[in-house]
C-alpha cells in the first residue's frame, strides 16, 4: 500500500493548479481582450476581467468590420480553413486505408519499394522542401485553389503508418474465415477491416484535423488572394504590418475563433485522441 499523506496531496494539487493556471492564462487573456473596446485595452495594465464589448468584437471579426479586415470577413476564413482541413483529413484517411491494406494484405512485385517510397515521406516535412513544392504547385496551376492548399499536405505517411501497424495486429484467422466464406479481398476490407478500424480512424481524425486546421507556412505562400486565406494566415493580416496599432479586440476575437474548432474536437474526442497519439507515437 502506498502511503497517502495530506500535505503531499495538497502539494500535488497546488502544483497542478499552478500548472493549469499558467497554461490557461494566455487563452484567458485572449478571451478577456476580445470582450473589451480597443481603447480600454490601451490603458496600462489592461483590464483582467471580461468587459461588455464581446458582441461588437466578434461581429466585427466575423463580418469584416474591423479596420484591418474590412475586406476579409473571418467567416470566410473559417470556411476556407474548414474545407482545407476536411480535404486533408478525409483524403489522408481514405488513401492511407487503401494503401495500408495493399501493403499488408497482398504480395506483389515491387511491394517493398512501394512501401519505402511511401514511408520515406515521414522524414521530410513540407517545411523542408517548401520552395520546390511551391514551384510544382505553381506549374500545375494550383495556386489559390483548395486542391493546391490541401493535397500537397496529404503527401505524408503518418496515417498509412498507423493503419499498417493496426492491420498487423488484426488476427489472421479473420482472413482465413473470410476465405472459407468465399469473400474476396474488397469484401473482407469493407465488412471486416473497416469496422475494426473505427477507433484508429477516430484518433487519426483528431490528429489530422488539428494538423490541417493549424497549417500556416504552406497557405502563407500558396494563398495569394485574400478570399483564399485560411484563418491562421488571415489572423496575421488582421494583426497588420505594424504601421498602425492593431485593433486588439478584433485580433483576439479572431484568435478565439481560430482556436475554437480544434479545441472543441480535442476536448470532445479526448479519449480517442490520446490513445491515437500514444499508439502512433506521432
Amino acid at each position: 500500500m502506498v502511503e497517502r499523506s495530506t500535505t503531499r496531496g495538497i502539494l500535488a494539487h497546488a502544483i497542478m493548479i499552478l500548472g493549469a493556471l499558467v497554461v490557461a492564462f494566455p487563452i484567458y487573456l485572449a478571451f478577456v481582450a476580445s470582450t473589451h473596446a480597443p481603447q480600454e485595452l490601451m490603458q496600462s495594465p489592461m483590464p483582467l476581467l471580461p468587459g461588455s464589448h464581446l458582441w461588437a468584437s466578434y461581429s466585427a471579426a466575423l463580418n469584416g468590420g474591423g479596420q484591418n479586415n474590412a475586406a476579409m470577413p473571418v467567416a470566410r476564413m473559417i470556411w476556407v480553413s474548414f474545407v482545407i482541413t476536411m480535404i486533408i483529413t478525409v483524403g489522408k484517411i481514405s488513401i492511407s486505408l487503401l494503401s495500408a491494406f495493399a501493403v499488408v494484405y497482398f504480395r506483389f512485385p515491387l511491394r517493398q519499394l512501394c512501401f519505402w517510397a511511401i514511408f520515406i515521406t515521414l522524414m521530410l516535412p513540407v517545411e523542408v522542401r517548401i520552395g520546390p513544392t511551391y514551384q510544382v504547385v505553381a506549374d500545375l496551376g494550383m495556386i489559390n485553389t483548395y486542391a493546391g492548399l490541401s493535397i500537397p499536405l496529404i503527401a505524408s505517411a503518418t496515417a498509412t503508418f498507423l493503419f499498417r501497424q493496426f492491420f498487423l495486429t488484426v488476427p489472421e484467422e479473420l482472413v482465413e474465415a473470410a476465405r472459407v466464406d468465399g469473400a474476396g479481398p474488397m469484401r473482407f476490407f469493407k465488412d471486416i477491416l473497416l469496422p475494426l478500424s473505427v477507433t484508429s480512424m477516430a484518433a487519426l481524425f483528431v490528429i489530422q484535423f488539428i494538423y490541417g486546421w493549424n497549417q500556416y507556412l504552406w497557405p502563407l505562400i500558396t494563398a495569394t488572394s485574400q478570399d483564399m486565406y485560411p484563418i491562421g494566415v488571415g489572423l496575421k493580416q488582421i494583426l497588420g504590418t505594424g504601421d498602425s496599432a492593431p485593433e486588439w479586440n478584433v485580433v483576439m476575437a479572431t484568435a478565439m475563433l481560430a482556436m475554437l474548432p480544434p479545441a472543441f474536437v480535442v476536448v470532445l474526442m479526448q479519449k480517442w485522441f490520446v490513445k491515437g497519439l500514444v499508439d502512433t507515437e506521432k
Binding site: 500500500m1 494539487h13 502544483i15 493548479i17 500548472g19 493549469a20 497554461v23 490557461a24 492564462f25 487563452i27 485572449a30 490601451m42 496600462s44 495594465p45 489592461m46 488513401i95 487503401l98 494503401s99 491494406f101 495493399a102 494484405y105 497482398f106 506483389f108 511491394r111 512501394c114 517510397a117 515521406t121 522524414m123 521530410l124 516535412p125 523542408v128 522542401r129 517548401i130 520552395g131 520546390p132 510544382v136 504547385v137 493535397i151 500537397p152 496529404i154 503527401a155 498509412t160 498487423l168 473470410a178 476465405r179 473482407f188 486546421w213 493549424n214 505562400i221 489572423l235 496575421k236 494583426l239 484568435a255 481560430a258 482556436m259 480544434p262 480535442v266 476536448v267 479526448q270 490520446v274
Partner: protein, 315 residues
C-alpha cells in the same frame, strides 16, 4: 484469391532478409492488379508532391538563377560553399541549436513535473488533464500571437508587471528577450504533447513496483529517482527527438508571428531562413541548398529515432 506462402522455407527466408518481416502477415490475398489500384492514389500524390519537389531541391541546389528567373546556370557546389562562408547562416545554425535545446529541455522538464503530480492526484485529474491538453489544439501562429500579446512592450500584462518589478522587457530590441519569448511560446504549445506521453509512460509502470518500494520505506522523491525516472528513459528519449524535430520545423509560425526572426537575426532559425531567402530575398539556389542541408539533418534525426524504436522492440 487467397493464398498461403508456398513453402515454409520461403517464409523463413523473408524473415531473414528483412527485419520488419517478422511482423508480416502469413496469410494474404493474391491479385495482380488490385494492390496497384489500391496504392495508386497515395503513390501518385507522393510522386507529384514529394519526390518531384525533393528532386527539384537537389537539382536547384546546384544551380544559380538570376533574380528574374530568366537564366539558369550550373554552379556545382557554389551554393553550399556560399552558405559555408556566410557567417549569418552559421549564426542561424547556432540559433537553431540553442533554441531547440532550450525548447526540448524546458518542455520536457515542465511536462515531466506536471505528469508526475498528475499521476498522484485522483480528484479533479480529468479537469487538470483537459486544461493541460488545450495548447495542443492551438495553432502555432495563435500561440505566438498570445505570447507576444502578453509581452507586448506597449500593452502587455506581463511586460507591465515586469516593469513594475524593475525589469525592462523589450523583445523588439533585445535579442535574448526575443529568444526567451519564442522559447516560451514554443514550450507552451508543445507541453500537452509531452505531458500526455509522460503520463502514459507513468501509467505503464506496474503499481506493484511502486508499492514494493513504498513498503521498503522509499519516499516518493526516492521512488521517483530510482524507479519512475529510469523506467521513463525510453519515453524521454523518444520525446527528446520529437521535440528537436518540432523545434526545428514546426515553430516557423511562432517565430513569424512573434519576432519575424529579429531583432537582427537573433531568432532566425534554419527553417525561417529557407523561407526568407527563398520567398523574400528570391535566392532560389541558396534556399534549395538550405533545403538539402535540412533534409540531411531530418534524415539523421530519423535514423536516430528508428534505432531507438528497434531497441525498444528488444526490451
Amino acid at each position: 484469391m487467397l493464398a498461403f506462402p508456398s513453402t515454409r522455407l520461403s517464409h523463413d527466408k523473408r524473415v531473414a532478409s528483412f527485419r520488419w518481416s517478422r511482423m508480416e502477415k502469413r496469410v494474404f490475398f493474391r491479385a495482380t492488379w488490385l494492390p496497384w489500384v489500391l496504392l495508386a492514389p497515395q503513390l501518385l500524390i507522393v510522386a507529384v508532391f514529394f519526390f518531384w519537389p525533393a528532386g527539384q531541391a537537389l537539382v536547384q541546389s546546384l544551380q544559380q538563377q538570376d533574380a528574374f528567373g530568366s537564366s539558369v546556370s550550373w554552379v556545382g557546389l557554389d551554393n553550399f560553399r556560399a552558405l559555408w562562408n556566410d557567417s549569418t547562416y552559421l549564426a542561424s545554425f547556432q540559433t537553431t541549436v540553442v533554441f531547440s535545446t532550450l525548447v526540448a529541455v524546458l518542455g520536457l522538464g515542465c511536462a515531466l513535473l506536471l505528469a508526475v503530480f498528475a499521476d498522484r492526484v485522483v480528484k479533479g485529474a480529468t479537469l487538470y488533464k483537459t486544461i493541460l491538453i488545450l495548447p495542443y489544439a492551438v495553432a502555432p501562429v495563435v500561440s505566438g500571437l498570445l505570447w507576444s500579446f502578453m509581452f507586448s512592450t506597449s500593452i502587455g500584462v506581463i511586460s507591465w508587471a515586469l516593469h513594475r518589478l524593475g525589469f525592462d522587457w523589450n523583445h523588439l530590441l533585445n535579442g535574448d528577450h526575443a529568444m526567451a519569448l519564442v522559447v516560451m511560446a514554443s514550450v507552451w504549445k508543445q507541453i500537452s504533447y509531452n505531458f500526455l506521453f509522460f503520463l502514459a509512460g507513468l501509467n505503464a509502470i506496474p503499481k506493484s513496483l511502486i508499492e514494493a518500494a513504498a513498503m521498503d520505506g522509499a519516499h516518493p522523491w526516492r521512488r521517483f529517482w530510482t524507479i519512475q525516472l529510469p523506467l521513463l528513459a525510453p519515453t524521454t528519449f523518444f520525446l527528446l527527438v520529437i521535440n528537436m524535430v518540432y523545434a526545428f520545423f514546426d515553430t516557423f509560425a511562432i517565430i513569424d508571428s512573434t519576432t519575424q526572426g529579429g531583432p537582427g537575426k537573433a531568432t532566425s532559425t534554419l527553417v525561417y531562413r529557407v523561407y526568407f531567402d527563398g520567398f523574400r530575398a528570391m535566392d532560389y539556389g541558396g534556399s534549395a541548398a538550405q533545403s538539402v542541408i535540412l533534409m540531411v539533418i531530418v534524415i539523421a534525426l530519423t535514423v536516430v529515432q528508428f534505432r531507438y524504436i528497434e531497441k525498444k522492440v528488444h526490451y
